[in-house]
Amino acid sequence: MSILNRFLGRLLSSMIVLIGVSMLIFFIARIIPGDPARIALGPRATEEQVTQMRETLNLNEPIIVQYGLFMRDLARGDLGISLYSNRPVITDLAEYLPATLELVLFAGVMMVAFGLPLGALSARYRGQWPDSLIRVITLLTVSAPAFVWAVGLVLVFAYFTPLFPITGRISDAMTIPHVTGFLLIDTLAAGRFDGFLSAIHHLILPAFALSLSGIGQAARLTRANMITTYEQPAIEMAQAYGFSEARIANRFAFKPSLIPSLTIIGLDFAALLGNAFLVEVIFAWPGLSRYGVGVILQKDLNAIVGTVLIISATFLIANIIVDFLVSILNPRIRLSENRS
């Protein structure tokens, strides 16, 4: 089976998962108590207005028919109108998703960029003071949730010492034309390097708060994997051939240890999407997680389904990417695919 076939296979199974998710969330959203038409129209609306609204929303149809209608619209790329914002759900998602993705991806990069080297360092000096220090710090970062770190970081680095802005994605004085919604890309596309720096400046604190527990977990996992690798005869052989400790750590022990770490980091990415909510609230980050909670409280059926679907799709894509990275790193998987 070639890489392409495998990729298509994964894509197909992801579609099936997505359809399952859509069913689940579609039905669950309708089971939550409360009449969406009544919530949307407010307590002073007349009974007739509510009945008419129920009619337009197809809420009087059997639930199976409702789902069929929803799937018909979805096939045309239409997720319906949000009762919360009175705009097409697709438009809302296009506006809020990039902000969240930018935050989560940046946090993911931080997780890998800090977590893996810290773990490698810890494993190389296992049992000595750098290891103990890293283990204490990473235990702290793992044991407190992201929003606690967010509050702490805002207090220390934005309030007491104003090194970073407290809220927002970019300096208010700047207007950047909306192209992709990713400010890091849009500012560069507009040739606004000052805007790019401002966007990064705004991104660092929330992304760091979000990634801290992931960094800790990645570091602890990499350390454990590397210590297991250090027990292998292959590392003793590298020592017998006189390679320096740094070279053994960075090359001979790091690469085999990376494989299990990477799989877990892929799963952590999903946790980042979930944790992003409180971090977005604290930093007033105009992202999808904040939007998602808003629409759930409003019982905005179309927007709930749309948000959940897009988050599931992001998670599935992240997992496919991680799978491929693992198969590139691990020759056993790569070669067994080529053979079969």
């Binding site: 005869p233 292959a234 052989m237 017998a240 051939y241 006189g242 001979f252 020759p331």
Partner: protein
């Protein structure tokens, strides 16, 4: 100290410190290997043979709780007088090692060709990938690997145990070391493959005049291979001499027990040997062949 010897060990002691005191595991070992000589160190598990090889390799000295005393001289240089970095410089160039299980000793995420390249860079830091490949292919032919190119492009898990063993022998000898340490080579392989690879190894070290310290628990295996044998029991050398002398006239009770542990076609099943005997602690017997 004899500068003409490749390896000269005098009164080597090793102890491990722990919270309850220190435990001595080597009680003053004397051993020597002449240039081009093949010497075997034979003993049961836990007798101290592997730690001896790690001391010669220079890695045991870096273990935090280990205390090494006595004199280990490699080609006239006292290892104790070298810094850790200088001992490391000897490894992979002047001293090389072969391990018990070739399939797990070769790093599974690197191709054999890349491993050869890394090893060659220990002696020739600027060697190119192409040249490394050529040299590796040449030495693989010396260990009777016909399709060297395929092997170089493979990972260790794609090759058989015997093939990996040949690769490891070739890798250990490619930098023309003065001393080869072989720690139970091929014990993880089946006996016929072990015999084949050992005879390849013997031919190659003979041709390159490499000195070998061969560590084994199996007297039968070393009979074909070694010029001289040291028998080690619980951290003491109990008997040493030329291979023929040890096999024809074993004098020490422990050597006799070891020899009778080799199964024979003519023998009557599993031999009945005492696991511990006071006589095993008898004084050392030398066959008067000190070089």
């Amino acid at each position: 100290m004899r500068p003409d010897l490749t390896l000269d060990i005098k009164n080597l002691r090793l102890s491990f410190r722990s919270w309850s005191g220190s435990t001595e595991v080597l009680h003053g070992i004397d051993l020597s290997v002449a240039p081009g000589e093949r010497v075997a160190l034979v003993g049961e598990s836990g007798s101290g043979k592997s730690v001896t090889s790690r001391i010669v390799l220079g890695t045991m000295q870096d273990v935090r709780h280990a205390r090494v005393s006595g004199q280990v001289t490699f080609e006239g240089t006292d290892l104790a007088k070298l810094a850790s970095v200088e001992r490391r410089a000897l490894r992979g160039r002047e001293i090389s090692m072969i391990f018990q299980d070739p399939s797990s000793a070769l790093n599974p995420v690197f191709r054999i060709g890349d491993l050869f390249h890394e090893v060659l860079k220990r002696r020739h830091p600027k060697i190119s990938k192409g040249e490394a490949r050529q040299r590796a292919a040449a030495i693989l032919q010396d260990v009777s690997i016909a399709d060297a190119e395929r092997v170089l492009s493979s990972y260790s898990f794609q090759l058989s145990g015997g093939m990996n063993q040949r690769v490891m022998i070739a890798m250990a000898l490619i930098n023309e070391p003065r001393l080869l340490l072989a720690d139970e080579p091929g014990t993880a392989l089946d006996v016929t493959v072990q015999a084949q690879t050992l005879s390849l190894m013997r031919d190659l070290v003979e041709q390159k005049r490499t000195s070998v310290l061969f560590i084994s628990h199996n007297l039968g295996v070393v009979r074909e291979f070694a010029d001289r044998i040291y028998v080690i029991y619980r951290g003491n050398i109990v008997e040493h001499g030329p291979t023929a002398a040890i096999f024809d006239a074993p004098q020490h009770p422990y050597t006799q027990a070891l020899l009778s542990a080799i199964p024979r076609l003519t023998g009557g099943g599993v031999p009945d040997i005492e696991e511990r005997s006071l006589s095993f602690n008898d004084p050392m017997i030398s066959h008067g062949t000190d070089i």
